[in-house]
């Protein structure tokens, strides 16, 4: 595994980007996600309106992988119906677990496909999936 395949341009940009890292004024759901062994901690804030993820943001600390993954996830699910967001979350987790490897099947994940290589790094899988597990939990 080369570092170029892990810290890709899109992951670096997303992990350093602040656009989704903010507090929402009136979130309808706030849920914390943690990877206790690494020290990744995020607080996911969502505004659910008419069955749609109308707005989303996060705060917290973590590694580049977890931060980028959270930010990419927010970009992806914002404006989508809850069911679609849940399906995307499931698809992302299956991608990291290498249960779905077909490129066309992964297309709905858009830029989040950039994290696919993390599936080759057992030590970092949890960093990538934690925000998505948190999202699924929040939307249940």
């Amino acid at each position: 595994m080369e570092l170029e395949d892990i810290y890709t341009q899109i992951i670096i940009e997303q992990s350093n980007s602040k656009k989704n890292k903010r507090r929402l004024e009136n979130p309808t759901i706030v849920l914390e996600g943690k990877n206790p062994s690494c020290g990744d901690e995020i607080k996911l804030e969502l505004v659910i309106k008419d069955g749609v993820v109308a707005d989303a943001s996060f705060t917290g600390v973590g590694c580049a992988i977890s931060q980028a993954s959270t930010s990419l996830m927010i970009d992806l699910v914002k404006g989508k119906p809850i069911e679609t967001a849940m399906e995307l979350s499931d698809l992302f987790i299956r991608m990291i677990q290498r249960k779905t490897v077909n490129e066309s099947e992964l297309e709905p994940l858009e830029d989040a496909v950039a994290l696919m290589n993390i599936s080759n790094m057992p030590a970092r899988v949890k960093c990538a999936t934690m925000p998505w597990h948190t999202l699924t939990q929040a939307l249940k």
Partner: protein
């Protein structure tokens, strides 16, 4: 018998030149990796050390020549296995200078040792309102068992806090130890801070108020002499695998008069005097604490590990590690965006340096370093209360051993200088 491994201690006659380290020759894994694409720079010795050939061969030798269930067979091979196991116990006794080999209990590691003390001593002798005193730098293994005892018995858990320099001051010790203190659980050396704690002073004060002291030697005994009689410590625990021995073996030392009054933790074979339909008479210590078939080959490996350390000598180990540590700190301090979390110049240490890189999560640091062939630890190091106390979520840690070299440190420093670039944070 296997050939005696020729110890290479004579090869480093002068620690002033540690560019290369000849001890590495005794460690197959470090050499195996050296033949690959990248030389492994192993700087995670506080997690586990690599094993010398003498230890690896001991395990092989045991199964090739001596394997039988000790204490259970009335035949030659079983007697031989028993002999090896008891020789290892005597070796451990001598190594820590216990009064009697009856005070040496083999465990699967430090964690089992702490749990055994907490269950078999703590739960029976700690009462409601008693105080259990820990340091904030305890590893979870010497912390969680005491939380459980405190909850179960209605005892009060208190902490001695470290200074920003990493030290535990005399004031903190005298402030926290009082007539209600029943037990003090203290690490000799923290796995994050790497400083040698003033355990003599803590033990002395604890004994003045009649408290029992449990000492975690897992991070000290690989690096410094631990003499249980000189320290006058009541219980002491360590793991073999952090001091060259195989995994799955450790030692619990306890003063005989304490062990005699404690009940076993595991009940079953090998720990009884006699069993009737309704009752059991337990064996004496140490056997009553060693229920079930023990890890004999690892005990044999531990003996070889202790012999290896004896051959080098703690003085030389300390001389090498002090030099390497000072060099690593000097190099790290030259890098502006690095924070070292403890002032290592305050006291004598053991080759542990915990640090952070501005703007980069420790997990990313270890991933980048791994790509450069450098193995370091990142995370909370099983010391979350200490992380909270230090005001951080996680940190990076290098931990050196006598087989590391200046070259290892140079590789580490070169790799460190690349981390921020990989994370898109410039140079």
């Amino acid at each position: 018998m296997i050939n005696k491994i020729i110890n290479s201690s004579s090869l480093i006659s002068d620690v002033s030149d540690l560019k290369e380290n000849e001890y590495i020759k005794d460690f197959p894994l470090l050499n195996n990796m050296a033949e690959g694409k990248k030389r492994l720079v192993y700087l995670d010795n506080a997690a586990t050390t690599q094993k010398p050939l003498s230890v690896i061969n001991a395990v092989k030798e045991y199964y090739g020549h001596y394997n039988a269930n000790p204490h259970r067979g009335a035949y030659g091979l079983s007697s031989k296995a028993t002999q090896i196991y008891e020789d290892a116990r005597e070796c451990a006794r001598r190594f820590i200078n216990a009064k009697s080999s009856e005070e040496i209990i083999f465990t699967k590691g430090a964690t089992e040792g702490f749990n055994m003390i907490a269950s078999s001593f703590g739960e029976d002798f700690i009462c409601s309102g008693d105080e259990i005193l820990l340091s904030i730098a305890e590893h979870h293994s010497n912390l969680i068992p005491w939380q459980l005892v405190a909850k179960k018995k209605g005892a009060i858990l208190k902490y001695m806090y470290t200074e920003p320099s990493g030290e535990i001051t005399t004031k903190e010790i005298t402030d926290k130890i009082n007539e209600r203190t029943k037990l003090v659980a203290i690490t000799h050396v923290s796995n994050v801070l790497g400083l040698i704690n003033p355990v003599e002073e803590i033990i002395r004060r604890a004994h003045k108020v009649g408290a029992v002291v449990v000492m975690d030697a897992a991070q000290s005994i690989p690096h410094i002499q631990v003499d249980v009689q000189k320290l006058n410590v009541d219980f002491m625990v360590f793991s073999g695998h952090k001091m060259l021995a195989p995994m799955g073996i450790g030692v619990l030392y306890g003063k005989k008069k304490l062990l005699d009054n404690m009940r076993p933790l595991l009940y079953g074979g090998g720990m009884v005097e006699s069993v009737t339909e309704q009752d059991t008479v337990y064996a004496e210590a140490p056997y009553k604490f060693e229920g079930g078939t023990q890890n004999v080959e690892a005990a044999y490996g531990l003996m070889k590990a202790m012999e290896y350390i004896d051959d080098i000598g703690y003085d030389k180990i300390a001389a090498i590690e002090d030099k390497l540590t000072a060099y690593a700190i000097e190099k790290l301090e030259e890098i502006p965006y690095i924070t070292i979390y403890v002032d290592r110049r305050q006291g004598k240490g053991t080759g542990v340096i915990s640090f952070g890189i501005e703007g980069v999560h420790p997990h990313d640091v270890s991933t980048v370093l791994d790509a450069y062939g450098v193995a370091i630890r990142s995370g909370h190091h099983c010391a979350q209360p200490l992380m909270n106390h230090l005001g951080i979520h996680a940190c990076c840690r290098i931990s050196l051993y006598f087989y590391n070299s200046m070259k290892d440190i140079d590789c580490f420093i070169d790799a460190i200088k690349n981390v921020r670039r990989w994370l898109g944070l410039g140079a």
